[in-house]
């Protein structure tokens, strides 16, 4: 661990054995360099926060719903009727919101059934062609590709399953030790890191914009050439700056 990491409260890192300590190496010139581990740690924090946050929210919502359902019989619907003005549009929208998951699942299953039927129908006609010995290598290649795709998906799933617990652990550790504040202070104090983030994002955005501008300007030039050729007029050599200034 280098000098930059000494500012992080040690408890946040040491108590999670599965996680490598975040390493932010400094070059000889004093500039901070981000390693792949830093990226992984940041990613773990994001994933952990999302998983833990959604779990927490779900728990809270469950508790609220139970509380509401307990006292449901006492609720007088006419009060709410008055508050919403009895607007049919609002009720339609609310109804639509509650029906959407049902419609979605129905739509998905219908689409699934329709596509399997279509596949069966099409394959009935294509079978005599695809089962021919001539197309054997193509079929094998296709099967290989499918198998490779499946293995990629399963390996990704495996990585997800391995990474989720340490991500959760990292966030739990951060929250329980109240070290988020310390981490944020660390980030704020390290102005170089902030500057670097700002610089990098500006540079990326700027480069993309310059690229877009350049490309659109070259399309303009090409269009000008085409129009000049169609209208049989001479191309302007110099920009018409005289008329502008």
């Amino acid at each position: 661990m280098n000098s930059e990491d000494k500012d992080i409260p040690s408890s946040s890192v040491d108590l999670i054995p599965a996680l490598p300590a975040p390493q932010t190496s400094s070059s000889a010139s004093g500039e901070i360099e981000f390693t792949a581990e830093d990226y992984k740690t940041a990613l773990r924090m994001l994933v952990g926060a999302a998983l833990e946050g959604s779990d927490e929210l779900r728990k809270k919502i469950k508790i609220w719903l139970t509380n509401i359902q307990k006292g449901e019989q006492e609720i007088d619907a006419s009060i709410f009727e008055e508050e919403t003005g009895g607007s049919p549009l609002i009720y339609t929208l609310i109804g639509l919101l509650f029906k959407t998951p049902k419609y979605l699942s129905w739509g998905t299953s219908t689409a699934g059934r329709a596509s399997s039927r279509a596949t069966a129908f099409v394959s009935r006609f294509t079978k005599p062609i695809t089962n021919r010995r001539v197309l054997g290598p193509v079929r094998r290649r296709y099967d290989d590709l499918v198998a490779r795709g499946e293995s990629v998906v399963s390996s990704l799933e495996k990585i997800g399953r391995t990474e989720a617990p340490p991500s959760r652990a990292l966030i739990r550790q951060q929250v329980s030790d109240e070290t988020i504040e310390g981490f944020l202070t660390y980030l704020v104090e390290k102005s170089k890191m902030r500057e670097m983030i700002v610089e990098t994002s500006t540079q990326v955005g700027g480069d993309a914009m310059i690229e877009i501008r350049g490309r659109s300007a070259s399309v303009d030039s090409s269009l000008d050439n085409i129009v000049d050729n169609i209208m049989r007029r001479r191309k302007l050599k110099t920009p018409p700056s005289d008329s502008l200034s």
Partner: protein
């Protein structure tokens, strides 16, 4: 970007494609802005039960249902949003977000920034250009100075502010 160097280098009028792309980007942004602001106003009016306003809109445009009300309400809002959007950006910085992305700027023929009056005139010119099947916009493609009818009406130019592509400015 260095404004001084742009004044020397970036004087070439912008071409049709860049201008069209910038305009499309602005339109997309405006559609989102207009819908959002229309929805917010509609909900606020409903929340505070300003039925008189909604009834007035309803009677003015002869719409009966709530969707019709919403569309009737959103039309003037959208027009206002569009007007403010263009005039605000043209007078303040000389470019809308779409034009900024494509590296374009609107200036007067003497190179000065637009006044509010000229920006309004240019905005009105948009409609003049649009009414005869967008001929006023297509004019940019064939005009030697890449001027649309709205440019000619308001005596303005759309120029590149590209400083990193000197070859494109030749």
């Amino acid at each position: 970007m260095n404004e001084k160097s742009l004044e020397i280098d970036g004087r070439k009028p912008a071409g049709f494609f860049s201008r069209m792309m910038a305009f499309l980007l602005d339109i997309i942004l405006l559609a989102i802005l207009g819908l959002m602001s229309g929805l917010v106003i509609f909900l606020v009016l409903h929340f505070f039960r300003y039925k008189q306003i909604l009834d007035f809109v309803k009677s003015l445009l002869g719409v009966k249902d709530q969707v019709g009300q919403f569309i009737a309400l959103i039309s003037p809002v959208l027009f206002l949003v569009v007007l403010i959007y263009f005039v605000f950006f043209w007078t303040l910085v000389g470019y809308t977000p779409g034009k900024a992305l494509l590296g374009l700027q609107i200036v007067r023929q003497d190179g000065q920034p637009l006044s509010v009056g000229r920006a309004l005139l240019r905005f009105l010119g948009y409609w003049v250009s649009a009414i005869p099947l967008f001929l006023g916009f297509i004019w940019v493609l064939f005009d030697r100075q890449h001027e649309g009818w709205h440019d000619k009406i308001s005596k303005t130019h759309v120029i590149y502010i590209l400083s990193k592509y000197p070859k494109l400015l030749e």
